[in-house]
Symmetry: C2
Subunit: 569 residues, 2 copies
Amino acid sequence: MSQHIVVIGGVALGPKAACRFKRLEPGSRVTMVDQSSLISYGGCGIPYYVSGDVSEARELCTTSFHMVRDKDFFHEVKGVEVRTLTKATRIDRENKQVHLLDLTTGKESALEYDKLVIATGATPRKLGLPGEDLKGVSYVCNPDDATRIREGISKGEVGNAVIIGAGFIGLEMAEAFADMWGVETSVVEITGQIMPRLVSPSLAAMGQRHMEENGITFHFGESVKAIEGEDGRVTRVVTDKRTLDADAVIIAAGVVPCSDIAKEAGLSVHERGGVFVDEHMRTDDPDIYAGGDCAIVNNLITDTPTFLPLGSMANRQGRIIGTNLAGGEAIFDGVVGSFVVKLFETSMAGTGLSLDSALAAGFDAVSVLLVQLDRAHFYPTKELMTLEMVVDKSTRRVLGVQGFGSSGDAMVGRINAVAAILKYAPTIDAVSNMELAYSPPFAAAMDILNTLANMADNVLRGINRGVGPDGFKEMWEKRAESDVFFLDCRESGDATEYLERNPGDWHNVPQGKIYEKLDEIPKDRPVVLICNTGARSYEAQVMLTDRGYENVTNVHGGMAAIKKFGVDL
Amino acid sequence: MSQHIVVIGGVALGPKAACRFKRLEPGSRVTMVDQSSLISYGGCGIPYYVSGDVSEARELCTTSFHMVRDKDFFHEVKGVEVRTLTKATRIDRENKQVHLLDLTTGKESALEYDKLVIATGATPRKLGLPGEDLKGVSYVCNPDDATRIREGISKGEVGNAVIIGAGFIGLEMAEAFADMWGVETSVVEITGQIMPRLVSPSLAAMGQRHMEENGITFHFGESVKAIEGEDGRVTRVVTDKRTLDADAVIIAAGVVPCSDIAKEAGLSVHERGGVFVDEHMRTDDPDIYAGGDCAIVNNLITDTPTFLPLGSMANRQGRIIGTNLAGGEAIFDGVVGSFVVKLFETSMAGTGLSLDSALAAGFDAVSVLLVQLDRAHFYPTKELMTLEMVVDKSTRRVLGVQGFGSSGDAMVGRINAVAAILKYAPTIDAVSNMELAYSPPFAAAMDILNTLANMADNVLRGINRGVGPDGFKEMWEKRAESDVFFLDCRESGDATEYLERNPGDWHNVPQGKIYEKLDEIPKDRPVVLICNTGARSYEAQVMLTDRGYENVTNVHGGMAAIKKFGVDL
């Protein structure tokens, strides 16, 4: 039984669904329409084209074997008919037709379908500001934007760039401007940190610091009031606190799902946009599927509807839709929210819920932060990695893990291992015993991920009681008003410079000498223990607790975290 | 209630169990005995000390904060008493005593325990050959061996080295001899491939080829008959096929668990050695625990007793024993068998069962091999990665994944993501939808792991019917006697050199032109389809099948796999 499938939208999910279906039912017909002239491009690659890492914008529109994915390609290689510059204006469910408008000729037409796929994607959130339409103001949306932005930079027209929004795209674009081209780049963010809601303030501060070291300026807690220009070109960004010179402005304030056509057709749509689908990616019309950036999916951790626009998600959902169009019963059960972003020589990644998100979702959650080497301590390429695990206190369930590390694949590999199990609602013990492949060039005998879970276990048991670098900073800055006893429990050589710089405030007893030098540690003052990464100070905490010390706090992540976080010590 | 814990064995599991217990019960006493003078060393680091990657043997015996883990360290820092050069000769379960022999003084004594931990480890398998005790013949066992081997090399005494066994340690030692020191190195292996039982012959051949390019010589299917020497020093290795000059010989033929003391005490021990334990790591005496290289654990995929000696396993089990010694109920549920080994600029890793192991365990299994880029095709640091997935045909259960890739962390990250879920008995669909963190510098929008599962799905559906590079090689070498039609379905430019080199044997129709040029493809001959990686040839297979071609085979991994595998084309 031959079918005609119509796909509205030709960027990520649309082509994937179309091609998968055609491979399963080569005898059926697929028509894909898109309002743009560009289809099937790698939008996520735009920052890397702007930065120069990718030399030609064309590469974002080709296959890995260098063929341009255009109309002809889809026709010849995939057997899919494509109509570009064609807008789908209305879905007539009763007559199973999509109404089309040819944007070149202005001609209207209708296309009958047996099954329909809504793959309309998302569109950058506009801020509704004066000056948002000035030349030089861009939303990072498609390869044409990319070409325009890079042209401006390479012609030397951009001395100052302002990025609005410190999420993935904002940060990637900030790096693109500053790294290769040396543009003075500022990021304005309305919340107090980079990657808000995605990572903790501690991890965010580490990433921010690294970006500042690479020349980026951040303005947190500021909102943009106007974008100003001269002769139609942007020249300034005005926030509620300052005015920034700007020859280029990137608005990266998130995206909104394009679901109007679905809503107008009477399909269920989320109040903030996004088409509701079941686990087969079917809308409430059994002949209409939706997926990718225009759809709402289930969050497997909170069990709530979630909008998670990601190219990878769109591809996986596209395959499922393709299978189901051909009579299959493939299932997309939901999302856990995995992400990674490269920040110069470092990267930030995560999966599941951050502590903030977990608390907001109603979990009685706590997080622990660990700094450890990413492979055997004797192996020459070792590097420190920071991971934070969010757990539910009563059930010991792992709700998420986030990390900050080098730009290599080591950290994202750990995040992915947790991402893989999150849907099984694992407890801490599952990660504690996770059997990661071991060899000194790749992992420590007790891998950082195992240790992270062990640490969470110790925190929940109440035997490791501590604060992260943010908590330490607060205590250190208030030391004049408190009677906290800061005890460095590393070997004396490591402590010397801090003792000299902070006479009276900094103390040192190596962990192995604690029982011997117990009289040097006051029992009636709060004691804060610090070592390199928090491991020896944990041992010290156990020892002091055993000897009746009641108020002992361990600094999680130790000096390593403090340095990455930035404390004036 | 204070207890006295005795731990027999001080390398990996012993110290971990001892220290974990002391942190939970600082008031209790722990005594750890070891027959050697060296304790708590990183044995897995030995090849990297021999190679020179690790500069001092001492580094294998220190903490990450540079303290030597010796008797004094354990006493001061960990509160654990250690007796080195002390052999545990007998366990008297009735009186809860361990009988000890002081190897320095010859004095015997007995030590009472409340609970006992058997952490006696494993010992290298001896071959029982003439000459095995000659100077220059080593088992890679402890830092003393490492020091001796490296001394010999650095003094210029080693021109030729022979490694017996092509498992992890054999291959790591082969690299150590050849890479930095330029020693002529041969590996003799009794089976037909490197990493037998762990990876498929195809992956093994890829690793072997890379090692050969780095100067290693392999002799497969040969067994060593004698080791010969002059003046007490090794000079030759004699196999059943040849005689090899050798100034150094490494015997890396596996290890055997040291479980005699447990057996003599009447505890359940596997017929081939190894103490049986329950999921709390308890032997059948509730006061005696065992773990690490001397214990037998449950394989979570085959549900059979398994001997899997790994330093990482020992550490994780050690913590569990430590917890349970203090009254906890921590569980070690079993192993899936994850591994990774670095081979010069590449690495080989895996988790779960290889196809051979799966078939041997009685599964009706099949494997699929995929070659794909490890990140976005437009991102400059992309590299090809090869992954093989083993699945059970009827249940679609994923039994294992193995891979070959660069020596970076990208491949092992993918293996770890699968390792993490194997205990949940995932189907192909779990990997197909696995939500890996996505960003072009780290992954493709459809990650190689997702694609691998999709490919397995297509193979089980019967729409992707193919062979790996080994199957292709066989067909190609027998082409004179067969009527196989080899069809390169890449763009013409890519096919030219093969057409010119193999006139009459090699044919080319780009996949996008197949319908157009159907008359160039014979319907009455078996057709074998080849492209760069197997993706376009799969599309071609779908098209030809749709047009009634009945005998069409796709070469999985395509030219990329063929080149890594080594076929004369």
